[in-house]
Structures are given as C-alpha cells and as structure tokens.
C-alpha cells in the first residue's frame, strides 16, 4: 500500500496506549527489577519509557523467544499425547519500538520463510504489529546511518514533532491500528516527507557515505587477512553480541525430559561459542578469532549474498555490551577497505 500520514497529538498517546491494551498484548519500553531498560509489559502508561536508548535486549524475542517448546509429549499406557507449539493468544503491538529493532524483523523473516516455512516464528510475526518510534538523536555506538535499510517491515513509525507525532503508516496492519482508534489520529495535510527529512537531519540519522554495503567486495578477499587473529583474539566467545542482536537468529534444538514425557525445544545459540553445532558434530572453527570472523562475515558477506540486505541494522548493541568492546563497524571498515587504520592499532603487519 502507499504510505499514509497522520498526526497524533501528544496528549492522545496515553489514551491510545490504554485503549490498545484492550485489543492487543501491548509491549513497550519499561524498566526491569535492576533498572535495565526492557521491552516488556508496562503496568500503566506511567511505566512506559519514552527514550531513544535501545534496551539491552532487542525486540527479536517477540518473534523468536530465547527458549520455545516445539513439541510437548506424554505417554500414559498405550496413549501418546503430543502438542505442537502454541500460537500467541492475542495480537501483539510493539509500541514505540526502535527503528533498528523494527526493521530487523523484515531481514530475519527472509531466513524463516526461505525454503522451509517456520510456523512458530511466522505465526508470531503474523500476530505482531510494529509501531516504531524514530530516534530523535543518535545513540551511543550505533551506526544505522551507515546501513541502507529503510522502513521495510515497519507497520507504522512515529516521528516526534512539536507537540505531536507525525505517524507514517506503511502496511495494512499499520492502517488497521489507525482505523481502530481513528478519532485519535488526524490526517496529516502538510508535506510529511519533508518534515521527516528535517527530523532526520536534526537527529543525525540521515544516511552517510560510504555505506557499509560497499565493504562487501573487499571483505570477500579478506578472509585470510593476517590481522583477523590479532584483532579478534580479544573476543572471549560469550554470546552477548548475538543475544542482544536484533538480527542474529541461530538456534539449537534440544530434547528435555525422558521417554514417557518431555519436550523438544528451540533455544538461541551462537556461532561465537565453543559448543556451536556440537549437537551435530563439533564447532568447525577451532580458534576464537575464526568464530568472530564468521559472525562478521555472515552479516556483511554471506547473508547479503543470499538474501540482499545486510544482516545488521546498526543498532550498536554488540559494541555497547561487548565485554571487550570489539567494534564490528570499525572491523568492517578495516577489512572492507573503507579505512586504513585497525581499531585500537592492533595489526600483525605480516
């Protein structure tokens, strides 16, 4: 559908939130017990955090939970009962999700419907509406301005203007949201795209050359580069970068329980870990730097080769939460020929 533009007055947002809770399972930014920002279920509108900062954990768990039961089975005498995974009971509204998280779903979808249609994942995606809130300022470590993804996969996105939000509706799901609460939205009659452009210029989120897509040709020649080892050997192999990443989607399938009752489940897994694919055989990459290289090249070479876009939205979480602050953007620039100096100065020079 062609994009439609509406205006949502700021004093109507609380009402929108409350009314939406009757129709949707509303997920928004809020704080957990430790004060961390999370995508959760705020108890009231006052608990919603309207901040640009990304929560440590992205929104991907609403399509791909960290642990999900695929089949639960139980045997009693001759009878065997097996239940498949449960579809979500209600429509989910991701309210005020960051653009880098919202846009990630469209990228990850391509994997889950590429040959095999992954019903649990696609089922949750079908029930979710993404109502994004565009950042008014660049956040620490993020680099979305260097990756050319746009608004694909985002149902509606709000840009904060003086006293109101300019809401750009892009999909039928987005339109359904606006139609449901139509008395809260007014049709935007100004030059909306011009206002959005001004907003982005002020926020510093306008795309800047060279885009990281342009690193691919050089990355394809850099697999054996002598500096991978020294630059990526500080990687400790935890899964933080992949677990906080909105686009990393590798998983493991495990069985728990015994012969008469148990479950088959799917859990997140990560290529940077020592036991990745150990269920099938073994981790084929024997050194940590090779595991790190795999993550980077999957995002900036292998994935775009097959599916088109980069497997990255530049949210910067993998830098912020990395225990050793490995910077994927800097490494892509270095190995991708966009920059001559290695991050931190480490090089082998052999």
């Amino acid at each position: 559908m062609a994009a439609e533009y509406y205006r949502l007055s700021k004093d109507k947002v609380a009402e929108l939130f409350e009314r939406a809770r009757a129709d949707y399972d509303v997920v928004a930014k809020t704080r957990d017990a430790n004060g961390n920002l999370v995508y959760g279920r705020p108890v009231s509108f006052d608990d919603v955090a309207f901040v640009d900062e990304q929560p440590p954990m992205s929104a991907k768990a609403f399509a791909l939970p960290q642990t999900e039961t695929l089949v639960r089975y139980e045997q009693e005498g001759d009878k065997i009962r097996a239940d498949g995974s449960e579809a979500p009971a209600r429509d989910v509204l991701l309210f005020g999700v960051n653009m880098c998280d919202a846009a990630a779903f469209d990228i990850v979808d391509r994997v889950f419907k590429w040959d095999y249609l992954d019903d649990p994942y696609l089922g949750r995606r079908a029930r979710a509406t993404q109502f994004a809130l565009a950042c008014a300022a660049v956040q620490r470590d993020c680099f979305c301005d260097r990756i050319s993804y746009g608004e694909d996969g985002v149902d509606a996105v709000a840009y904060e203007l003086e006293g109101a939000y300019l809401v750009k509706v892009r999909t039928e799901k987005g339109r359904a949201l606006v139609e449901r609460y139509e008395n809260l939205f007014a049709v935007e009659d100004g030059d909306a795209e011009r206002s959005i452009k001004t907003f982005k210029e002020k926020a510093g989120t306008v795309k800047k050359e060279p885009m990281l897509e342009s690193a691919k040709p050089a990355l394809e020649k850099a697999f054996e580069h002598a500096d991978w080892e020294i630059l990526a050997s500080t990687c400790i192999g935890c899964g933080i970068c992949t677990y906080v990443c909105p686009t990393c989607h590798c998983f493991d399938i495990q069985d728990e329980g015994g012969s008469s009752r148990g479950r088959r489940l799917r859990t997140w897994d990560h290529c940077t870990g020592r036991t990745f694919t150990a269920t099938a055989a073994e981790q084929p990459r024997d050194r940590q730097y090779k595991r790190y290289r795999q993550r980077l090249l999957h995002k900036f070479w292998y994935y775009p080769e097959r599916f088109g876009p980069l497997l990255c939205t530049g949210c910067g979480r993998c830098i912020t939460y990395c225990p050793v602050k490995i910077n994927i953007k800097e490494l892509v620039e270095y190995f991708g020929g966009l920059k001559d100096t290695p991050p931190g100065g480490a090089r082998h020079g052999k």
């Binding site: 017990a33 500080t234 935890c238 728990e256 036991t275 100065g345």
Partner: protein, 294 residues
C-alpha cells in the same frame, strides 16, 4: 613530565625493540571506549592507554597466548589472578613480563554520569566496589613499572551488597535471587570474562551426559551460577568482571563473595594474596574450623 600514556607506549616499544616479548597486552583507546588490545611488534602503539575505564582483567588473555612471550599490564586484579594461576600451574612465569602501573581505581560503568565527565575527578562513590577494597594500588612484583607510584587509601571493610542480601529473610532472599536469575540470558559472559574459569570444557558445555538443560529459566540459570560459584571457592580474587560484563546487570559476584568472605573469616585465607599463596583446597591446618562439616 611524561604522561602515563606516553610512558606506557615507550615501555611497550622498548619491550619489542629489546625483543623481550612477542605480544603486549594492554588497553587501547579508540571510538570512545577503552578496551583490551593484543599488540604485536608492528602494531600502532599510539592508542595504548591506562585510565579509569581499563576494566578488563587482562590475565584472561594468557591462555590464548600460551607459548608466546607476553608483556602484560598488571593492576592489582591481574596480580592476584597471576598468583592463583601460578599456584595452579597455569602460567609460564618466565615468558611473562609483568608491566606494573599505579592504578587510579576503576569507575563503575553503571555509575558513570551521563555525557562528558572528568573521570579523574570522580570520587569513591563512583568506583567499582573492588577498588574501594583494594589493598595495594601499585603492582608489587612488576618487572617494569610505568608511571609514578600512588598512595593506597585504607581499604574499605565489609561487603555492602552481600550484607544487604543477607539481611533479607530467607523468603525475600529466594525471591530476590529468582528475580535476578529470571533476567539471566545464559550468555556465559560471566564465566568467559573470568580469568579463573579457564576449563577447556565447562560443565555447562558437556552434552554426554548433559548436566544442565540448555533452556533458560530461573532454576536452570541458578543451577549454573551456583555451580560456577562453588568451582571458584577459594579461587575468586574479586575482580568483579563477572558482574561488570553481565548484560542483564545481575550482581553475579555476590555468590562468589559469600565464599571469599567465609574463606577469610574461617581460615584467614585470601585467594592470590601473595605469590607464595597455595591453593586453598590443598592446604590443611590442624586448627582449621570443621564446624560446618555435617
């Protein structure tokens, strides 16, 4: 007067020029962060630094560099770690050049003020807890010492967060831990950031038999954390890296602190206190308290 940065860079250069090391492990400053860097002879040393965000316990990189001659920046945290690793036969001391530094105390990343701040000016209330307890700010057995020695303030007593948790009733405490554990994503960064969790295969990685389910949940998560804490009994040197790196903000080290405190109070034992300190679990004194043995 040369700054600590300049002195460090000169010291690293000299180690390479004199062919004393293959790698120099320190902290680099770039893209707004201070982070560990492994540098080789041809690396650009101009980013080397040592500041109040030099968090990582650099001893954690020694296994990766086994077999090489390594220059390692050692603050008190690394010193105690090296003592434990040496007692456990894990390092080749003759291949290690200990580069001593005066430690300015690290700023707790969770207490960092928003925006630009003069890190050097931040007082004790901004420090990591370990720094308030630190017994010696200057590396005691440095092969090379860089910078001016600093005085060490009287170490703080007690374990504030542990005492807070212990003041709870058993029910409250269980609820608190359950809540903390429900936030854990089992990335195992606490284990991997720990220089004393050096097992090639951790029990959580075994799959024949599989000791721990891979699914996340408060019980599985707590199971992991308790076993890790016990594996570090009498070994943890309280560098707090486990808590610092936790993306969920779980104060993981509270579990380790219980054991550290008990070793101190019951046996007068401090892990890695000196280069001669033997591993706690192979020591025995006739008057060791046994009242906790069932």
């Amino acid at each position: 007067m040369a700054t600590i940065k300049e002195e460090l860079q000169a010291a690293a250069k000299k180690l390479f020029d004199d062919d004393r090391v293959d790698y120099f492990v320190g902290y680099a400053e770039d893209y707004g962060h201070t982070f560990p860097a492994i540098l080789a002879k041809d690396s650009d040393l101009s980013r080397l630094t040592f500041d109040r965000k030099s968090y990582n316990n650099l001893a954690n990189f020694l296994p990766e560099l086994r077999g090489f001659r390594v220059g390692l920046i050692c603050k008190q945290c690394e010193v105690r770690t090296l003592n434990v690793l040496a007692a456990e036969g894990q390092i080749e001391r003759d291949k290690l050049v200990v580069v001593g530094v005066p430690c300015p105390a690290m700023v707790d990343p969770r207490k960092l003020p928003q925006g630009e701040a003069d890190l050097a000016a931040l007082d004790e209330s901004y420090w990591q807890e370990k720094c308030r307890r630190c017994p010696e700010r200057n590396t005691p057995f440095a092969d090379v010492f860089v910078g001016e020695r600093v005085s060490t303030p009287t170490p703080a007593e007690g374990w504030p967060l542990l005492e807070e948790v212990e003041a709870m009733s058993a029910e409250e405490r269980l609820a608190w831990w359950r809540e903390q554990m429900s936030l854990c994503i089992r990335c195992y960064a606490c284990r991997l950031a720990c220089p004393l969790c050096y097992c090639h295969q951790c029990f959580v990685e075994d799959n024949k038999p599989q000791w721990l389910d891979k699914s996340v949940g408060p019980e599985n998560n707590l199971h992991y954390h308790i076993i890790r804490a016990i594996h570090l009994a009498g070994r943890c040197i309280e560098c707090q890296e486990c808590s610092r790196v936790c993306p969920a903000g779980i104060p993981v080290d509270v579990l380790n602190n219980v054991l550290s405190r008990d070793f101190g109070e019951r046996f007068g034992y401090v892990a890695g206190e000196t280069a001669e300190t033997e591993p706690a679990l192979i020591q025995y004194e006739r008057d060791d308290k046994e009242d906790f043995i069932l």
